[in-house]
Structure formats: C-alpha cells, structure tokens
C-alpha cells in the first residue's frame, strides 16, 4: 500500500475579500498531508485559522471568505483532483462532499436539522451519493447509528435531534459524515461542546472508526491533551501560519518552535506539586495588515533581529519534524 497522502494541502491560503476592499490573507502557505488510517491534528488558539483551513479543505467557505493561492489535492485513480480549483457550488465539488470527504462540526446542538428525524438525515446522503432506494438507505442509516455506538438504533433513527443528548447528537453527526465511507474525515473541534466524560468517548470513537474504515482524519482542536491522546501527527498554527509540524511523540518530547514550547509549558501539570502557571506573554494580535517577519516575533522570548524583518522558511529536523524558526535554520521563506 503506497504511503502517498490521500489529501494533500499545499501552500494553501485563505483570504477575506469584502466587496470593494483589498483581499486580506488570513492563512498563509499552509501545508498539510493526510494519510489513510492516520490522524493529523491541527492545533492552535482561537482565531489562528484552523477552522477556516478545515472549511477550505472541503471548499465550503462562505463569502467574503475564499480560497486564495495553493492546492488541495485529493488522490484519485486517474490523477489527483485539485479541490481548490473547483467551483464551490458546482456538481463536481458536491459529489465529493459527503461522498469522499466527510466533515463533522463543533456544536451538535445546532448542526442538525431540527425538523427531520436523525435516521432520515443520514439516509438523505446515502440516497444522494449512492443512489440507494429509500428503504435501503434507511437500513444503512440504522446500521450507521449502530456503528457509532448508539443503542436501540432502529428506534433512535425515528427520533428528532431535540430528543437526543449532546453526545448522541455528535454520534449522529459522525454517522452522517461517514455514511458513504469517505476516504477523508475532517473533524472541527468534535468534542469541545460536549461534557468532559462524553468527550473522551467521542474521540475514541473517531479514532476507532478512522482505523477501521481506513480514513485519513484531520482533527482540529485547541486542546493539547486531545492531541496527545488521539493524533498521529500534529501541525501547530499561529496567526494563520503553520509554525511546526511533527509526529506526535516528537512534538511533545522535543518541541522546536518557541510557540509550541510556550503552549506546552503553560499546561498545568497533574503530577507535580503546586506551581505557578506560565502563560505566554502578550495576546494574539487581531487580523490586520500583512505581517512582516515571523508572526510570533513580538511575543517570543528568544526573538532575534531578523525575526522581526524576515519570515523563516520551514526546515526539516529529523524524523519528519519540521519547524519554521530562525533558531533552527537561517533559511528565509520566499514570499508567496
């Protein structure tokens, strides 16, 4: 089995293009590669651009957001298709969504249609993409509910979202997303809106399904704990840039970028004694004019002169560990 990535995001940027104004880039040159059966986590604070990247990957950005430069390559037998070049509302893109790429959203309360029973919401996609008859689709839907761990699936399929708990609704969302056995699954903060006890169950379910169905999973989260437990590889985002990318053990063992180090250091430790929390000083600046130099420079304790002037290029350390920081290499990024 080739280890070529199922979905490859190359130098993708997303811009805000309000009518009559200059487009403003909010993510820059993002590189991500998703492999079958493995989970890549995209982690960062609120506003760093991770959700927007997830939406871009499925070409579901609504105006004024739109895809800028870059490619989103989905592996196909006849050659890769560049999602970024497809019309968002076009038939080609729609046939990919739900069929080959599934997406789960953060808030299951508001993400399900209140007036249709949950079984029907799963079956709808099956009828659309696989051309199943209504009865066959409903049966598959019930099986899907079983697959995501919902008991009494046949009865549940007839119920409405308001009759289910938060955890169950999220399972329904997962069932909808994987109904057509997609190759890629994008999960945008799937557990954030849930109770703590349910969070772990949902994440475990996702991991399990990913392995069983051989899906390439992109897991968006702001929680490093979630990353540690559920991901194979991690990409760290800050202000629209991917600043570090590594296999998960390598990231936690030897974080290379000062931002990553700051994130890890600011986590309170469960085993140690009482200690002061060590936050990263400063705040994430708002989206504004183009950034000059390294985006983290003004908060970085180890910033050097060139950090404020030039953007560092992404360099490889060993073992698939990449970082964009002048501490590790003097290479400069070529402006996009």
């Amino acid at each position: 089995m080739s280890d070529a990535p199922v979905l490859q995001i190359r130098r993708l940027s997303v811009e805000v293009a309000a009518v009559g104004e200059r487009p403003v880039r909010i993510t820059h040159a993002v590189d991500l590669a998703l492999h079958a059966g493995r989970t890549m986590a995209l982690v960062g604070e609120s506003g760093c651009g991770k959700s927007v990247t997830a939406l871009a990957a499925i070409n579901l950005l609504s105006p004024p957001l739109r895809i800028g430069d870059g490619e989103i390559l989905l592996r196909e037998s006849g050659g890769d298709v560049d999602i970024a070049r497809l019309r968002p509302g076009g038939a080609a893109m729609r046939s990919l969504r739900g069929r080959r790429i599934g997406m789960i959203f953060q808030d299951p309360m508001s993400a399900l249609d209140p007036v249709f029973p949950v079984g029907e919401q799963i079956a709808e996609g099956l009828r659309l993409h696989l051309g199943l008859s209504p009865r066959a689709a409903l049966e598959r839907a019930i099986e899907g509910l079983r697959l995501v761990g919902i008991p009494a699936a046949e009865q549940r399929a007839r119920e409405y979202p308001f009759q289910l708990s938060g955890g169950m609704r999220q399972r329904v969302m997962i069932a909808i997303a994987i109904a057509c056995a997609p190759e890629v699954l994008i999960a945008d903060e799937p557990s954030t809106a849930l109770d703590v006890t349910v969070q772990a169950q949902i994440l475990e379910l996702l991991r399990d399904l990913g392995l069983r169905l051989g899906m390439a999973t992109l897991l968006i989260t702001h929680d490093l704990g979630v990353v540690a437990e559920n991901a194979d590889a991690v990409a760290v985002m800050y202000r629209g840039f991917v600043v570090e990318r590594a296999p998960v053990e390598a990231l936690f063992a030897a974080p290379a970028h000062p931002y990553t180090r700051g994130l890890l250091a600011s986590l309170p430790s469960l085993d140690g004694g009482r200690e002061r929390l060590r936050p990263i000083s400063g705040q994430v600046p708002p989206i504004g004019p183009d950034i000059v130099g390294c985006p983290f420079a003004d908060r970085c304790a180890q910033a050097m002169a060139e950090c404020h002037r030039l953007m560092p290029a992404t360099t490889s350390l060993d073992g698939g560990h990449e970082v964009a920081c002048f501490l590790h290499s003097a290479a400069v990024a070529v402006p996009a």
């Binding site: 729609r94 046939s95 959203f105 508001s110 249609d113 249709f116 659309l128 993409h129 308001f162």
Partner: protein, 305 residues
Amino acid sequence: MLTYLVRRSLLVVVTIWGVMTILFGLQHLSGDPTLLLLPSDATEEMRRTLLHQLGLDRSLPVQYLAFLGHTLTGNLGLSWKFNQPAFGIVASAFPATLELTGAALVLALAVAIPLGILAALHRDTWIDTMASSIAVLGQSMPVYWSGLLLILLFSTTLRLLPSMGAEGLAALILPAVTLGFNTMARIERITRASMLEVLGQDFIRTIRAKGMPEHLVLFRHGLRNAAVPIVSMVGLQLGGLLGGAVIIETVFAWPGVGRLAVNAVYARDFPLVHAACLVVTLTFCLVNMLVDVLCAGLNPQIRLE
C-alpha cells in the same frame, strides 16, 4: 398535542361567548330601536306592542339568557329590516365572503412566498430593494384607497374589469387583489426574514457539507424550517383579511357578509349585526385554531409532547 387542542377549543367557545356579550351590551346601550323602526307618528301602544314582539320589554338578565339560549339553538332572531331569520341572511351571504377572502389569501401567498425567498437569496440587491418597496406600499396603503385606484385604472379608464358585483371570475380579480395586497406585503416580509434566519444557521452548513444540491438545501431544509413563522403570520393576518373584507365588499359592492354587516349597522338592525359579527368571529376563531394547530404540527417538539 391533545391538551393543546382542548385548550384552543375552549378559547374559541369563550371568545364567542364574549363577543355575544359585548354585542348584547352594545345593543342595549344604543337605546330604543323602536324609534327607528316605526314611523314618527306611531302611537305609544304600537310602540309597546313592537317592544313586546321583539322581546325587549323583559328584564335585562332575562333577555340575556334568552339571547344566549337562542343562539345556542341557532336562532339568531329576525332581522328587523328584512323580517327574515338573521342567520339565514348571513348564511346566504357567507359563501361570497369566503370566496373573496380565499382568493385574496391564495393570491397573496402565491406572490409573497416566492418574492420573499428571492429577496432573501438576493439580499441587498435591486431585487431585495424592489420587494422591500412593494412591501412598504402594501402595508401602508389604505385598503379602500388602493381599491379605488384600481377601479379608476382598470374599470373606468381601461374598461378591462368590472368594479361592482360578483358576476363571473372577472369581478373577483380587483377586489381579491386589493384585499390581498396588505397580507401579501406582510407575508413577504416574514418569509424573507425567516429564510434569512434559517439559512444562517449551522445545520445548513452541515447539509451543504453532505453535498446536497442547492435547491434541496433551500426547499427541503430551508423552507421547511422557515415555515413556522410564516404560517404563524398567516394566522395573524386572517383577522386583517376579514376586517379588510368588510371595507372591500363595500367599495366593490361585493355581496358578502361584510357589506351586509355595514348596512345592518347603518340601519341599526341589531339581530343582523349580531348574526354577522358572530359568524365572522366564529370563522376567524376556527381558522385561527386551524392555523395554530398546523404550526404546532410543523414543530416536532410540540407535536410529540
């Protein structure tokens, strides 16, 4: 759902009773009807006889109870002007009013809903502005004024459509359009607002992420969710439609209950006024209840309780 139905039915009964009581009270406030009904040279004895015939010489509580009792048995008295059963007169005029309001409602919906959806989809474009302007006009033009203007244009000047009576379908057009204009405006506004609200919700994004084609997103999911406020507004508008019918029927000489009621009021023909008000209110309550039940049915949360 059952308790809801029971409660609503009770409300209808109470409303009817209330209307009857109010009308009864108003009638007896208006003084002695015999003065109007008899020629001015009538003798005192003739007056007393008439009073007795009309049952107006009994004490007030007795009259009230008799009145209630009669109504329950369907006897709404004799019209003082026509000397025929009031209920019968109203009943024969009722289909005309139904026809008029029904046509007005259908026309209003047929224009308002597509227009509202279009306005929502093309928000802030010229389509939206145009829909907005039409809505403003519809909500502020007095119904008899637009009626008169339409008569001026289509009947008098262009001689295309009749302005009076109920002969044939052509005669229905002007009154129905005039009557429906206001309702159309309000339903267009709520359709637009409701669609915009629904289309901005999270689950629409989920549906698009499933790869659903846009027409299914709009109609199967969007409109279905937007329906409840729209149906609700239709219910609220029914009173306006019936009230408007009163004026429209007068302007266009349409032989319905509204015109009957107005003429009865002019003539101080209280049994007829009672009958007309009662029938109109009962219709309004029943249709309203239907609409409320429909709304409740559309909302799975209420339906399943």
